[in-house]
């Protein structure tokens, strides 16, 4: 436990770290049906990863209200273009409330130019999802988080926070090498 001392003996709440980047909703009004977004729970997702034999799977948890997620998205889409033929499967998983699927999630995916099927979290809580992806994770669940599974379906990396293309590329190339050979 961290201990700090104050002159006045009152309980103190630190809202650490409140931020502007996470407070604005990104709701948009138009309904867009062109982007496929499938509700999925952690069991179904782990099943997809398990049966995606031979591919490295990158599961990116994001949300429309998360500015770092939006900043990271172009890098993820470039990774998909550059690495798909080398054995990368990108799974975009929205952690938004399913109530905003049509008003926020689909329009934002369309803005990003996403045309492949994506997913929206259908677990009872984010906690359930996180602990199923990485049972050893003890900290907060920060968006975006990317979970990289190797070619055998084993979790290789948990990457917290918005990352650049090069950071992903280095990790992916390393993970792809692990899966090659006897």
């Amino acid at each position: 436990m961290t201990e700090i001392r104050f002159g006045r003996l009152v309980p103190l709440v630190l809202v650490l770290s409140w931020a502007l980047a996470c407070t604005g909703a990104s709701a948009q009004s138009s309904r867009t049906d062109s982007v496929e977004v499938i509700p999925i729970d952690h069991r179904q997702l782990l099943d997809i990863i398990k049966h995606d034999s031979g591919n490295v799977v990158l599961v990116n948890a994001w949300a429309t209200w998360c500015k770092p997620c939006k900043e990271e998205m172009p890098a993820l889409l470039k990774l998909k273009r550059d690495f798909e033929k080398k054995g990368l499967r990108l799974i975009l998983l929205s952690a938004d409330d399913i109530d905003v699927l049509d008003t926020s999630v689909r329009p934002m995916l369309k803005q990003f130019g996403v045309t492949f099927p994506t997913y929206i979290m259908a677990d009872s809580s984010e906690e359930v999802f996180l602990t199923s992806m990485n049972p050893k994770w003890t900290g907060a669940f920060a968006l975006p988080t990317s979970f990289i599974f190797d070619r055998k379906g084993k979790l290789a990396e948990t990457m917290v926070g918005g990352k650049k293309y090069e950071t992903f590329k280095n990790i992916l190339e390393k993970t792809m090498r692990w899966g090659v050979g006897p």
């Binding site: 436990m1 961290t2 201990e3 700090i4 001392r5 104050f6 006045r8 003996l9 009152v10 309980p11 103190l12 709440v13 630190l14 809202v15 650490l16 770290s17 409140w18 931020a19 502007l20 980047a21 996470c22 407070t23 209200w65 998360c66 500015k67 770092p68 997620c69 952690a95 409330d97 109530d99 809580s125 984010e126 906690e127 996180l130 900290g139 907060a140 669940f141 920060a142 968006l143 975006p144 988080t145 917290v160 926070g161 918005g162 990352k163 650049k164 950071t167």
Partner: protein, 122 residues
């Protein structure tokens, strides 16, 4: 948070907001506080030193320190971003127990939110 401040400041709880996001400067923060009518003090953690000290990863993530200076609760405010779906007000429960002298049943509840954009990050 403003509602929580209104409720608990009257009961002797000090509330401090801390912004550790490198992309947001004091001018932006001040404008945001004014826009939303925040009455509690908000500090700028320019080099993420406070965030690092507390191991904060997301926004919002709360830390409750008792009058003896000990961290007694760490985590989320409640269990849903959708106010209609909140079933557990973890921070309020912790404060009420603390103020009534009861033992806290839960010292941690995993926070969920945006990652903090740190000075050293990507």
């Amino acid at each position: 948070m403003e509602k929580l401040y209104e409720t608990f400041s009257k009961k002797g709880v000090a509330v401090v907001g801390i912004n550790a996001n490198k992309a947001e400067d004091v001018t932006m923060i001040a404008a945001h506080c004014k826009e939303h009518g925040f009455k509690f003090p908000v500090l700028k953690d320019r080099e993420n030193k406070i965030a690092d000290l507390y191991g904060a990863l997301v926004t919002p993530e709360t830390f409750v320190i008792n009058p003896a200076g000990k961290l007694v609760y760490h985590g989320r405010i409640d269990d849903s971003r959708n106010i209609k779906k909140v079933t557990s007000n973890d921070l309020t429960d912790a404060l009420e127990k603390l103020l009534s002298g009861k033992a806290l049943t839960q010292a941690e509840a995993r926070a969920f939110g945006c990652s903090i954009k740190r000075m050293s990050g990507d």
